[in-house]
């Protein structure tokens, strides 16, 4: 994994087994501020596990993860994570969910809530119960919730799933914004064309480690061709 100057995120020797299968066998990863890494790979190869370990939700059997030099367990407030689950409570409104998240993160709620709602274009939905939201709106709320504490590192597991074209574009634009602000992003995805414009580096995870990694190729077909080569070989 090519290293960046003063890496934001550094993972060394990450290993994790399920039963006898070594899902991750000594994976290294570094990410610098403002970079956006896209991780793809066949299903069940440990992409989600890796992301969870990077987020501090799972403990690796071996290896360390540091954020700005400190162990990830001590850096919880500095990263944002979103996977398949929305982390939202169905019986609370959008505003109530976000307020709760802010309190958990130790953010000041007064005034900041409106800013968060505005940025996610959720002002008109603030008093609707999450239960009544469409998938797309719920996803937007979930994303707002995951990022409202302005984390330095953002980990997203298949965030484009279920988004319509407009929302997808908006998300990619948002990722570009984050990068511009010096935030590091790791995207786990199925389809490289989603978010391609915001991606700076790519990597393919298979057989317990990286089988391909480097800067982002110019086009998606180029990348897919190279990925196919290494996966079959």
């Amino acid at each position: 994994m090519p290293s960046s100057d003063a890496p934001l995120l550094e993972a060394r020797g990450i290993a994790r087994r399920y039963g006898r299968a070594a899902v991750l066998a000594g994976v290294d990863l570094t990410l610098g501020a403002g970079e956006c890494l896209l991780v793809v790979g066949p299903n069940g190869t440990g992409k989600s596990t890796l992301l969870r370990i990077l987020a501090g939700l799972a403990r690796p059997d071996a290896g360390t993860v540091t954020l700005d030099g400190r162990p990830v367990a001590e850096s919880r407030g500095r990263l944002g994570y979103l996977a398949h689950d929305t982390f939202l409570y169905d019986d609370l409104t959008v505003a109530e969910n976000l307020t709760f998240a802010m309190r958990l993160q130790g953010c000041e709620v007064a005034g900041a809530l409106d800013a968060v709602l505005a940025r996610a274009e959720l002002l008109s939905h603030r008093d609707r119960l999450v239960r009544h939201l469409s998938r797309g709106l719920a996803q937007r709320t979930a994303l707002a919730r995951a990022l409202l504490h302005s984390p330095a590192l953002v980990l997203l597991d298949e965030p484009y799933t279920g988004l319509d074209a407009a929302s997808s574009t908006a998300l990619t634009a948002f990722l570009l914004e984050l990068r511009g602000a010096g935030v590091g992003v790791i995207l786990v995805g199925h389809r490289p064309e989603e978010g391609w414009d915001a991606v700076t580096r790519v990597a393919v995870l298979a057989r317990g480690g990286w089988v391909l990694e480097g800067s982002r190729p110019a086009t998606v077909p180029e990348f897919e061709a190279r990925a196919r080569e290494v996966l079959v070989g």
Binding site: Y18, G19, R20, V23, G44, T45, G46, K47, T49, R59
Partner: protein, 235 residues
């Protein structure tokens, strides 16, 4: 020995021999108790259960305490072997307390006239039995070995802390259990032959505990190995 199965077989063998010796010892205790120990005047033949019941209680307590201590150690050290030991100790403790819960009433009926009584010591044993049972049920219901080990340790520690409270609360009620005969401040109140048989029984049950735990540990080792071959949860 690197191969877990070979290690398991060796342990099973060692444990098996120890258990065999313990069982022979138990047979010796029974013979001693029936033939060579004087019969107690007031309680008669039924009193002989005294050589089985309190030593089994000792075994159950030992199992319980060691499970709790191993649980604490596991939370600090994270070594899964400690978890395996704790689980083995708990299962053996379950067996011992089951023995107690059956021998107690067998003794009780002729003496107290009733099969069951909420006597403090019997109640404590019943609750220990439930604690062991709950511990086992929880382990059975959890499939990730790491999670299972952590949760078992938490329950083991909670149970250990609970016991003094149970002890106190059951003593808030009247007891008809015989007063302690051996553990008294001014020394045992037993004639030497009875004391001898009793102490032998305690030693036998301790040995039985050790042998059974080793065997159970060996089985646990083999099963963990099989589970890891089959593959656990997937990413």
């Amino acid at each position: 020995m690197n191969d877990p199965l070979a290690r398991a077989r060796a342990l099973l063998s060692v444990g098996g021999w120890i258990t065999l010796v313990a069982l022979l010892g138990a047979a010796a205790v029974v013979v001693l108790a029936l033939q060579f120990t004087p019969t107690e005047a007031s309680q008669g033949l039924a009193q002989k259960i005294f050589y089985l019941h309190p030593p089994a209680a000792w075994g159950a307590m030992l199992a319980f305490a060691l499970c709790g201590i191993a649980s604490i150690a596991f939370l600090f050290l994270g070594d899964l072997r400690l978890d395996r030991f704790a689980a083995s100790s708990a299962e053996v403790g379950l067996a011992f307390s089951a023995v107690m819960l059956t021998t107690g009433p067998i003794w009780g009926k002729p003496i107290w006239g009733t099969w069951w009584d909420w006597d403090p010591r019997l109640t404590l044993t019943l609750l220990l039995f439930f604690l062991f049972l709950g511990y086992g049920a929880l382990r059975n219901a959890l499939h990730d070995p790491r999670e299972r080990a952590r949760y078992s340790a938490v329950v083991g520690i909670m149970a250990l802390v609970l016991v003094p409270f149970i002890h106190l609360s059951v003593y808030l009620f009247r007891t008809i259990h015989p007063k302690p005969v051996v553990l008294r401040p001014d020394g045992p109140a037993l004639p030497p032959e009875m004391l001898r048989t009793f102490l032998l029984s305690v030693a036998v049950f301790t040995l039985l505990y050790v042998g059974l735990v080793i065997m159970r540990y060996a089985l646990g080792l083999a099963r963990d190995h099989a589970e890891s071959l089959a593959g656990g949860d997937h990413a």
